[in-house]
């Protein structure tokens, strides 16, 4: 029997909306500032006291970004492909490893998991030079695959999905096993669908992480055609002068696809399952 909610104004509901509205404003503010700043002139960006609203909307900023060294189309493609590859890798390989840690029995399982986790505790900058040398040995400097190769492998997804797997009742596995399923079938047909929201969240987070990745692509690739769009944007930062209005415009442009992705994926967040699937 579903909980009844009175049709009249529920104080709990009002409070909820108030808190969420205030929170949302606080959260969204920098993005809004980003958009507003992208439409200012350079002078307006460094003016003090700060200019809150540009005198004229400088739509030309968006055109100015497309300069010779910044093949935006190709770079956006690189960014997208790299992000997709990383997400696919994380989802597939990460969920498989997570399943192993959550459901399979083997010696040193705890120790191996600890080793996986330890990778998360080391700051990324540390890996810069050794990873560069691995890519160099493979002969893959300045290529598309260099962009996403190290990023496919991460303990983040493994840890995340392990937690979600461990919330699922063992009876699910046992019932399936009684039906003659092997571990892969249990993983693929039974457990994986049940953690769909987590998979969507992981995909989203991986894409976002990959999107903003800057230092690694800059170091491992050089040709503008092989760089992601974050690198192209970074070139807008001069040695002495940062053209903030252009940087912001670039940021707005390149985050638009992610916002779109998020809007699309939102539906996946909606609960689509129930443990009544046990019956």
């Amino acid at each position: 029997m579903p909980e009844t909610r009175s049709k009249a104004l529920n104080p709990g509901l009002v409070l909820t909306h108030v808190v969420l509205i205030v929170g949302a404003i606080v959260m969204a503010l920098p993005y809004v500032i980003q958009v507003i700043t992208s439409l200012k002139s350079y002078q307006e960006t460094i003016q003090v006291p700060p200019v809150l609203w540009p005198a004229h909307f400088q739509w030309g900023n968006y055109l100015e970004i497309f300069s010779a060294s910044f093949p935006v189309g190709v770079q956006l493609m690189n960014t997208t492909l790299a992000a997709a590859a990383r997400a696919a890798g994380q989802l597939l390989l990460g969920s498989m490893a997570a399943y192993a840690f959550a459901r399979l029995k083997f010696r040193f399982r705890g120790a191996i998991f600890a080793v996986f986790l330890s990778v998360l505790m080391v700051p990324g900058q540390l890996f810069l030079i050794p990873q560069y040398q691995v890519i160099q040995t493979l002969g893959w400097l300045d290529t598309l695959q260099a962009l996403f190769l190290p990023g496919i492998f991460s303990a983040f997804g493994v840890f995340l999905l392990r937690q979600y797997f461990m919330t699922l009742p063992l009876e699910l596995d046992e019932a399936a096993r009684l039906d003659g399923c092997n571990p892969f079938q249990i993983y693929w047909h039974i457990l994986l669908p049940l953690v769909r929201p987590a998979l969507v969240a992981l995909a989203l987070l991986t894409v976002v992480n990959s999107w903003n990745d800057l230092l690694w692509p800059l170091v491992v690739n050089s040709s503008p055609e092989h760089l992601p769009v974050s690198a192209g944007l970074a070139n807008l930062q001069g040695q002495f002068v940062d053209k903030y209005q252009l940087i912001m415009a670039g940021a707005v442009l390149t985050t638009a696809p992610i916002i779109l992705l998020f809007a699309v994926l939102q539906r996946q967040f909606i609960a689509g399952f129930a443990t009544s699937g046990l019956k």
Partner: protein
């Protein structure tokens, strides 16, 4: 797994199995050659591309490919590449880096190439060329000089009834003017005095005769009376209230204070000329030579082209670097008006024409007389501490004598480790 483990170990130990063969040909190659040129500022691309095209006309078998890495990450990437012998054939270095890179074997020795070259570089003053010869070997070719000067806001000067600065001003003149220009109730300060070594206290210290790094990089005189006097110029300005405080110029960059018309003067390099001019409005920006102390000596930075020691086309890369310092190259670069001044005086007029109406000609003579900003083989190690050590003197919580003594110790300790 064995083979893979071996590969990981070898790759990890950086033995550099990379296919790069280490045979570097010192003489010119036959057949078409492409050399890569690393740089860090997008706004220079058109000028350098033009230079590269012009060079190609004179040397049809050599093509120059420009490679941009943004400044913030430039050295991280460069060092990684040098370690793996994949650095560009030629690349930008500031003068403060030359010692470090040369000492660690990253740069090619250009002495013979320069001696044998027929290109006329007589337009470059000796004082500009000298710093790049270390231990008798030439390691880099300068292409940009960055002399510093005193910018001022003409409107604010007129409003306060103060005479505009001239090329003969001393630091005392600056202090006097700053006092008259400061108008607290209107939120106007006479000058912006951030804790910024290049533009402020290095300049004044040099102008009182201190060298900061002495004895061929083995000692320091930053605690000498001359240097103290130089630092006191700036700490006084802040303490007397003629400049925003250190916290204020950290929160809001000094450039913003000046561009927004909140300070009447600021010392800076030529790269801000265009943006200051645009901010202050036509005809409102003035620029004169750096004020003098007891001697007429200011500080200057330069940007150079260095050649990778592990490169495969050293001679051709050198020829391009040389071209950039020669008459033709220098004129192309100066005409763009993008930032710095020419190292070659034959391009002086091109630079003056490129940035008209500001007073660029006033800082030009400094190129021949200025002293390069101080550096050692590990400059950043001690230089980065200056802000922390000197700030108390600006805030009045420590004396100039104490902080300079403290800084001298920092520098000495650091130099000692450089061996």
């Amino acid at each position: 797994m064995r083979g893979l483990a071996a590969m990981v170990t070898v790759a990890g130990l950086g033995i550099g199995l990379a296919a790069c063969s280490s045979t570097s040909s010192a003489s010119g190659d036959d057949g078409p050659v492409t050399i890569t040129y690393g740089f860090w500022a997008e706004e220079f691309r058109p000028a350098f591309q033009q230079a590269a095209d012009e060079f190609h006309k004179e040397n049809p078998n050599v093509t120059v490919k420009l490679k941009l890495t943004p400044f913030a990450d430039y050295f991280t990437k460069l060092n990684t590449e040098i370690s793996s012998k994949t650095a560009p054939d030629a690349f930008w270095l500031q003068n403060i880096h030359i010692g470090l890179y040369a000492k660690n074997g990253a740069l090619a020795d250009l002495t013979t190439l320069r001696k044998d070259s027929k290109v006329d570089l007589s337009g470059i003053p000796d004082s500009v060329m000298k710093p790049y010869t270390i231990g008798g070997k030439l390691y880099a070719m300068p292409w940009q000089a960055l002399p510093f000067g005193l910018y001022y806001n003409k409107t604010l000067f007129k409003a306060a009834g103060v005479a505009e600065p001239t090329n003969d001003w001393t630091w005392d003149d600056v202090a006097t003017a700053a006092a008259k220009l400061t108008n607290k109730s209107a939120g106007i300060y006479g000058i912006a005095a951030p804790v910024w070594n290049y533009g402020t206290f290095y300049q004044s210290m040099y102008s009182y005769g201190a060298d900061i790094i002495t004895d061929k990089g083995k000692g320091t005189d930053i605690d000498s009376p001359a240097a103290q006097r130089g630092l006191k110029v700036w700490t006084d300005l802040v303490q007397k209230g003629y400049s925003p405080s250190v916290a204020q110029t950290t929160d809001t960059p000094a450039d913003s204070w000046f561009s927004s018309g909140k300070t009447a003067m600021i010392t800076s390099g030529p790269w801000t000329a265009t943006s200051y001019s645009a901010a202050l409005g036509k005809g409102n920006l003035g620029l004169v030579a750096m004020p003098k102390g007891s001697v007429d000596r200011s500080g200057m930075a330069t940007t150079t082209t260095a050649i990778a020691a592990a490169g495969k086309h050293i001679a051709d890369a050198y020829r391009f670097a040389e071209f950039l310092s020669g008459d033709t190259g220098q004129k192309i670069l100066s005409k763009s008006g993008v930032a710095g001044g020419p190292v070659n005086k034959n391009a002086n007029q091109a630079w003056i024409d490129a940035i008209p109406g500001v007073g660029i000609e006033n800082i030009l003579p400094e190129i021949a007389t200025a002293k390069l900003l101080p550096s050692s083989n590990a400059t950043s190690v001690w230089e980065d501490q200056e802000v922390t050590v000197f700030t108390p003197a600006y805030n009045g919580t420590a004396s100039v004598a104490d902080v300079t003594k403290q800084m001298a110790k920092v520098i000495e300790d650091s130099l000692a480790k450089e061996k």
